[in-house]
Structure formats: structure tokens, C-alpha cells
């Protein structure tokens, strides 16, 4: 309920342009750039960008959990309440994951239709699992962004910057093997990287056993970010109370 109250993007007037039109055109943009540059394939860019787009709802919605409360002047009321923080914030994370999953799948479907990419029907159930895990890990990073929102006023700017980092480092448009080694190393500890690799393998006809390790790694990265996010929320909450900066960050 608090998610719906804070995340105004669920209005169709906002949801359709941002969660359907924008990801589809991002896919088309990079697919055409890829053709012009003579690298990758439509499938490569379709899968990479569709999954990367899960980061939009995951990062922005989680960032809104704090900035939205602050904007509504309910942040101090929320944090003074005796409610346990873990169910409070994880409860808001669940619809975010579903949102990210749906956003990616719709982009994947529409993008495939427009570009004429065929996705093997047999790989679809596993693909849904991979996208869901990727959305989960990205939501973990979103929780870190939400914690930073206790200190940073411009959460939209922060979320955009994190999204940009994911775009470059996670092998979305350039495979990790073609990136400089330090960039690939950074990419391996970020959400989405392993998920995108697994999804590409599945679309290419790989079996679950071939991608299981990648999916496990993606999930593990998500858990780590989730724990870091919860820890940071606790730490920044204590600090904000101590220095009385909850509403003026």
C-alpha cells in the first residue's frame, strides 16, 4: 500500500511512456547502433537492454521509498514508529521486483517482435526466472540507493547515475570480454551482469545446468546488496537522528 502511495509511476499516463515506450526505443537505438558499428546482433542488444531496463523501476522506486516519505513529510513519523525496519522496507521491495520483471519481459517481447528476433519457447520459463533474479539483485542495489537517500537530497539524480553505471559496466551493449579488464572486474560485482549473461545463453539455446552458476551468482550479489542496504539504512537512520538531519538531507 505504501509502495502504491509513493510510487506515482503506476498511473498509465506515466507507466506506458516510461516502462513500455522508453525501453523499446532503447533496445531499437542500441540495436541500430550495433548494426552501424558492425558489432553484436539484434538478439544481443535486445536481451541486454531489456534486462538492464529492470533497473529503472528497481532503482527509482526504491529511492522513492525515502524521498517520497520526505516529500510527504512523513519520513520522521515513519522512522519514529516502532515498526520493524526489515519487513517495512522489504515489503516495499517485493512489488518493485514484480514491476522490474514485468517491465523487462514486456520490453523483451515487444523488442523481439519489432526486431524479428525469435526466442525459443522452451527457454521462456527459465528466462522469466533469470529476469526475476536480476530484478531482485537490482532491487538490492536500489535499497542501497534508498539508504543513501537519507543523506542525498537528489535521489532522482543518484538513481540516474547508478543506472548509467549499470549500462556501461554490466555488459549490456558491450560484452564483458570486450571491455577493459578493470571495467569487467567492476561489472562482475554489480547486479545484472550475470543475469544478462545467463539470459543471453538461454536465448542461445543453453540448458539450465549451463546457466545455474550465473543465476546463483546473480542472486548472491542481490543478497549482498540487500544486506548492505539494510545495514546502511540502519546506520544512516541512527546518524540522522543523532545529527537531526532526517528532513533536511
Amino acid at each position: 500500500m505504501s509502495y502504491r502511495a509513493l510510487f506515482g509511476w503506476l498511473s498509465p499516463w506515466i507507466l506506458i511512456p516510461t516502462f513500455i515506450v522508453e525501453p523499446v526505443f532503447q533496445i531499437l537505438f542500441f540495436a541500430y547502433v550495433g548494426r552501424d558499428a558492425g558489432v553484436g546482433s539484434d538478439t544481443f542488444f535486445l536481451v541486454g537492454n531489456a534486462i538492464q531496463f529492470a533497473s529503472i523501476p528497481c532503482l527509482f522506486a526504491m529511492g522513492n521509498t525515502i524521498s517520497g516519505e520526505r516529500y510527504s513529510q512523513t519520513l520522521s513519523l515513519l522512522l519514529v514508529s516502532p515498526a520493524r525496519r526489515i519487513p517495512l522496507f522489504l515489503g516495499r521491495a517485493l512489488p518493485v521486483i514484480v514491476n522490474g520483471l514485468m517491465c523487462s519481459l514486456i520490453a523483451l517481447g515487444l523488442g523481439a517482435l519489432i526486431l524479428g528476433v525469435s526466442i525459443p519457447m522452451g527457454s521462456l520459463p527459465l528466462l522469466v526466472v533469470v529476469v526475476a533474479v536480476s530484478a531482485f539483485s537490482c532491487t538490492g542495489l536500489g535499497l542501497v540507493a534508498a539508504a543513501l537517500a537519507l543523506r542525498v537530497r537528489e535521489t532522482a539524480v543518484l538513481s540516474n547515475l547508478v543506472m548509467g553505471v549499470l549500462l556501461i559496466f554490466c555488459g549490456v551493449n558491450v560484452a564483458l570480454t570486450a571491455l577493459p579488464s578493470w571495467m569487467a572486474a567492476v561489472g562482475r560485482v554489480l547486479p545484472l551482469t550475470h543475469g544478462i549473461e545467463a539470459a543471453r545463453a538461454l536465448v542461445g539455446g543453453a540448458s539450465w545446468s549451463r546457466v545455474a552458476t550465473l543465476v546463483t551468482d546473480e542472486a548472491a550479489i542481490g543478497v549482498v546488496y540487500l544486506l548492505i542496504g539494510l545495514g546502511m539504512l540502519k546506520w544512516f537512520e541512527v546518524e540522522s537522528r543523532r545529527s537531526a538531519t532526517l528532513d533536511i538531507a
Binding site: G8, W9, S11, W13, I14, P17, T18, V21, E22, F25, Q26, L28, F29, F30, Y32, V33, G34, R35, D36, A37, G38, V39, G40, R153, E154, A156, V157, N160, L161, M163, G164, V165, L167, I168, V172, N173, V174, A178, L179
Partner: protein, 269 residues
């Protein structure tokens, strides 16, 4: 009698130009200090430019990489305007200043155009920043054939994009989620206007759409000025279309304001 009319008309033009200049400077100072409108408008397109340059570098063609460096620099001009222009009047409404602007004794359009011109100017910062990023982070040697004409083409492109933003701002005044509209237009314009991919590489039906968008001709002028082609025709078309967008925007402005005043919906849409 006719001399007096000319004198009054001349004074009005001078006064309008002064208003545009003062408004542009004020908006530029305000927006360049905003984390979203100023800093992010420069940094955000650089993420996409970086991604694009990495792709072209992987492709291995040096000439394509140099072309991409110039094309990628134009991405930011539109980025700086698209979302911020579409949401600018919503922002005025939220701040409670929209009614004051509408009630001002000068035409409303003359108060909105400086906003989008300031955004376009920030877009020019982005263009320069992306070119420098390509030079120093990727080592791309962009040697401009006609530097002065390149500068002129960049300014004309920024004006074209600004007036397109003006039309977008006015059109979206009654749309509560206007920023979403601007965001949704970001990639289509990057693609359709041929900033990176030639329009000829897109489906045939896209070409007529690209012809009526000023950035198409602006980007072509920038490329021609950079690589030794003749940019003057493109510059002229960009200016002509910009003027058309400005006139349509002013007409729409009048219609929407009349409607908003009649139905008392200025603050309540």
C-alpha cells in the same frame, strides 16, 4: 504617422529581445546550479555516449569511431531539453508561479522560450563535454575542418532543439505526468534524427518524420562542418524548421491559455 508606427514597432522588438536575453540568462543561472537540470543533463548522455563509443571501438573502424564521437556529442543537446522542457510548466505550477507568468503583461511565450533556450545552452555544454570525453578517455582525434562553422552549427542545433522543446513544453502543459512524455521522446529523437545511425539505415517510413525535426538538419550540419562537407543548406533548414516550431508553439500557447482561463484549469489540470 508611418515613422511613428515603425518606431513603436522597433521599440517593441528591442524590448522583446531584451526580455528573451534577460530571461535566458536568469534561467541559465538557475538551471546550471540544479543537480538535475544542470549536472545530470551533462553527465547522463555521457553514459550513453560512452556505451556507444565502446561499441564503435569494438567495431574497429577508426573513421566510424570519429563519426560516432561527433554524433554522440549531439545526444546531450536533446537530452538536456527533452525531459526538462516537458516538465518545465508543471514545475512552475508546483512552485505556484505559473499564474504569475500567465498574468504578466508580456506574451507568455516570451517567458517560456528563454527557459528552453537555457536548457539548449546546457545541451551545448554537454556537446563540448562529450567531445572532450571522447578525446581524452577514448583518444579519439576529432579534428574539425571548419571550427567556426562547427560552432555556428552547434548553436543553431541548440536553438532548433530549444524551440522544439518550447513546443513540447506548451503541448504538455495540461498533462500531469509531462516529464514521462519528455523521457519517452529521448531515444526516438536520438534514433530518428540520425545522430549516430544514418536515417537511410532506418525503415523508409521514418525518413519523412526525420525531415520535419530540426535536430536532423542540425546534426547533419554539425557533421558536415566537422568533416568538410557543406553545412549551409542544413543550417538554413534547421533555422527554418526552428522558426516554424516557434510559430506553432506561440499559436498553441495562445489557444491553451485562452482555454485554461475560460475553464479555470490553469492550476488544476
Amino acid at each position: 504617422m508611418s515613422t511613428a508606427i515603425v518606431r513603436v514597432w522597433g521599440a517593441q522588438v528591442r524590448s522583446s529581445l531584451r526580455l528573451l536575453a534577460v530571461g535566458w540568462w536568469l534561467q541559465l543561472k538557475m538551471r546550471s546550479r540544479s543537480a538535475f537540470d544542470g549536472i545530470l543533463a551533462i553527465v547522463y548522455p555521457m553514459f550513453f555516449a560512452t556505451s556507444v563509443l565502446l561499441m564503435y571501438r569494438q567495431g574497429g573502424s577508426t573513421s566510424a569511431l570519429v563519426g560516432a564521437a561527433v554524433g554522440a556529442s549531439v545526444l546531450g543537446v536533446w537530452s538536456a531539453v527533452a525531459t526538462t522542457a516537458s516538465t518545465s510548466l508543471q514545475q512552475e505550477r508546483r512552485l505556484g508561479t505559473l499564474e504569475l507568468l500567465v498574468a504578466a503583461p508580456r506574451p507568455f511565450a516570451l517567458l517560456v522560450v528563454p527557459m528552453t533556450l537555457a536548457m539548449g545552452t546546457i545541451g551545448l555544454y554537454s556537446l563540448l563535454a562529450t567531445l572532450l570525453w571522447g578525446r581524452f578517455a577514448f583518444g579519439i582525434p576529432v579534428s574539425l575542418e571548419h571550427p567556426v562553422v562547427f560552432l555556428l552549427a552547434s548553436v543553431v542545433t541548440a536553438i532548433g532543439v530549444s524551440l522544439m522543446g518550447f513546443l513540447l513544453a506548451v503541448s504538455a502543459v495540461r498533462y500531469r505526468g509531462a516529464w514521462a512524455l519528455g523521457t519517452a521522446f529521448e531515444f526516438p529523437v536520438w534514433l530518428i534524427c540520425g545522430f549516430l545511425v544514418p536515417v537511410a539505415a532506418l525503415p523508409d517510413w521514418v525518413a519523412p518524420i526525420s525531415w520535419v525535426l530540426p535536430p536532423t538538419w542540425g546534426a547533419a550540419a554539425i557533421r558536415n562542418a566537422a568533416f568538410g562537407g557543406s553545412p549551409w543548406g542544413d543550417i538554413a533548414l534547421c533555422l527554418l524548421l526552428s522558426l516554424a516550431y516557434g510559430v506553432i508553439g506561440m499559436w498553441l500557447c495562445g489557444r491553451l491559455l485562452t482555454s485554461a482561463r475560460t475553464n479555470a484549469t490553469l492550476a488544476l489540470t
